[in-house]
């Protein structure tokens, strides 16, 4: 491939006390690509995200964003450069209405520079922009849902709120940590076009998912993790055919049988 890698992760290792959560993981991703990361529970997927976005200090390894070394930078600096993430264990601003949850990122230096999601360098009224973003990811504009306290929202909406918060920054990379889980079929169906549109806008997406069917529909490339190590990488079909992946991810069960659950 001749496109330049927007994010390059080389040899990251993370140890929590005696536990090795990540062991020498390297990968890179190109602008506009959608990378899916899958792996059994506790295989270190979220930990990769935490390392990339600076939420935890890694034990060793380097991370380059657009060729620049961002290893060890504080989280807010990395986010400011355009690498944003959702939280698997949702972290909304519980005591604020949903739309205000999106307004806060609009106050960040990055949003002021870029004008927020779809803004051409200029931010309009932040509340309106916030509600626009929410509408885009499936909060009905004219209902009262965007005005509800985040603490009263059900799981599904909170997942989407996570994504909305990332969009507000007009990011270059969005890392989605299990945003599909907790959504119903039809809701996912309405989210997929959004992800595809992001890709068209040149935004790079990393998706961590257990919903394989939907993931395979959108992802260009899949990376498989097991016990903190990368065990495979390639297109969906490639990795699914991989023997080690089968062993790690589907155990002794038949792939078809397991796929019913994904």
């Amino acid at each position: 491939m001749n496109r330049q890698a927007i994010l390059e992760v080389s040899g990251i290792t993370k140890k929590f006390g005696g536990i090795t959560a990540l062991n020498n993981v390297s990968f890179s991703i190109h602008t506009g690509e959608i990378l899916g990361i899958i792996g059994p529970n506790g295989s270190g997927k979220t930990t990769i995200v935490n390392c990339i976005t600076g939420f935890i200090k890694m034990t060793s390894g380097k991370i380059y964003f657009k060729g620049k070394n961002i290893t060890g930078k504080p989280a807010h600096k990395i986010a400011d450069m355009g690498v944003t993430r959702t939280f698997q264990i949702m972290r909304p601003y519980y005591s604020l209405p949903a739309y205000k949850n999106v307004v806060i990122p609009l106050f960040s230096p990055r949003a002021k520079r870029t004008g927020g999601w779809r803004g051409g360098g200029k931010l309009g009224d932040r509340n309106t922009v916030g509600i626009d973003i929410l509408e885009e990811i499936g909060f009905e504009r004219d209902s009262f849902v965007p005005y509800k306290m985040a603490s009263t929202l059900p799981t599904g909406y909170l997942k989407r709120l996570e994504l909305a918060r990332c969009l507000a920054l007009k990011p270059e990379i969005i890392i989605c940590d299990e945003v599909f889980s907790g959504l119903s079929m039809s809701e996912i169906a309405s989210m997929v076009p959004l992800i595809e549109r992001l890709q068209m806008d040149g935004i790079t997406v990393i998706m961590i998912e257990h919903r394989l069917r939907e993931l395979f529909r959108v992802a260009n490339r899949i990376m498989v993790m097991n016990f903190g190590e990368k065990i495979a990488e390639g297109t969906a079909d490639e990795v699914m055919a991989d023997k080690t992946v089968k062993e790690a991810y589907f155990g002794s069960k038949e792939v078809e049988e397991v796929m019913d659950y994904a």
């Binding site: 979220t46 935490n50 939420f55 939280f87 698997q88 264990i89 972290r91």
Partner: protein, 288 residues
């Protein structure tokens, strides 16, 4: 040598101050600012039982612990239960209750410096060339045993575990059939009892004065925080850290730096380890 002996004694004393507070906080997440007052109160109760009712020492001690436990439970049942989970309100309410207890003690004439409890065993023994009174040795002994028992209690018994679970997530505990209100009352009663125990053990060293309530409270909080809330091991370590820091400064720097060094030790420990020596709160809250 003397540093070792008196450092240990001082540390155990601190640990005893802290036990009740740590227990109540660790179990029901209630920063019981009435802790110091309960400590003083139980001292006076013992005194009254001994001197006014003329009870022998042992029954007086047992009775005091029961009475204090009941008082703690009552405070919880009638006041604190209504503001559960509102930490700031809890602090203020318990502090106000403590203040009310202390000031009414004062009003009823328990003031001045003439109230004391007798030592369990009189006399002293020389360790090396350092005289140590028996009572202090008893304190160290009982103190260590109590700490051990409590640790076993909170980590290995069903009720102890249930109490700890309740502290972390009350609603989840409810779903598992743990009656949180009842448990919190038990915890408070238990914590008050520990305050009483500490008072009975420690007061014969000096005299019962209402003002010491504040000191006890501050020291108790300091020990718990430095150790990391909810961590027994941490509290004990912290007691020793602060205890020895005090004794060492007393020896090498002069006693009037005792408090300065202790406070500095607290602040620096926390800056270096933001959740205390053995706590994980910060890391847990920042886990994403």
């Amino acid at each position: 040598m003397d540093i070792l002996i008196y450092g240990t004694i001082n540390s155990v004393v601190l640990a005893l101050y802290a036990l009740g507070f740590a227990l109540v906080y660790g179990i029901s997440r209630l920063p019981n600012f009435a802790h110091g007052a309960l400590y003083v109160l139980s001292g006076f109760i013992t005194w009254s039982l001994l001197n006014i009712l003329g009870l022998p020492y042992l029954p007086a001690i047992i009775l005091t612990m029961i009475i204090t436990a009941v008082i703690g439970a009552l405070i919880y049942q009638f006041v604190l239960i209504r503001i559960r989970g509102m930490e700031i309100s809890e602090i203020i309410a318990s502090y106000a209750i403590g203040l009310a207890i202390i000031e009414s003690l004062r009003y009823f004439g328990f003031r001045g410096m003439t109230y004391t409890l007798p030592a369990f065993v009189e006399g002293s023994i020389d360790i090396g060339d350092i005289p140590v009174d028996y009572h202090r040795l008893i304190i160290v002994g009982i103190g260590l045993v109590v700490v051990l028992l409590l640790w076993l209690f909170t980590h290995y018994t069903k009720i102890g575990l249930a109490l700890r679970g309740m502290a972390q997530d009350e609603r989840a505990a409810l779903m598992l059939g743990i009656d949180s209100d009842m448990m919190a009352i038990v915890a408070m009663a238990f914590g008050s009892m520990l305050a009483a125990l500490a008072a009975i053990l420690l007061l014969p060293l000096g005299n019962i004065v209402v003002e010491s309530g504040y000191n006890v409270l501050i020291l108790a909080i300091a020990v718990c925080i430095v150790g990391g809330l909810g961590s027994w091991v941490g509290s004990i370590f912290a007691a020793f850290l602060i205890g020895f820091a005090q004794i060492l400064t007393a020896v090498y720097l002069g006693s009037h730096y005792q408090m300065v060094v202790a406070l500095l030790a607290i602040i620096i420990t926390l800056i270096v380890k933001p959740s205390g020596l053995f706590g994980q709160q910060k890391e847990l809250e920042e886990r994403v």
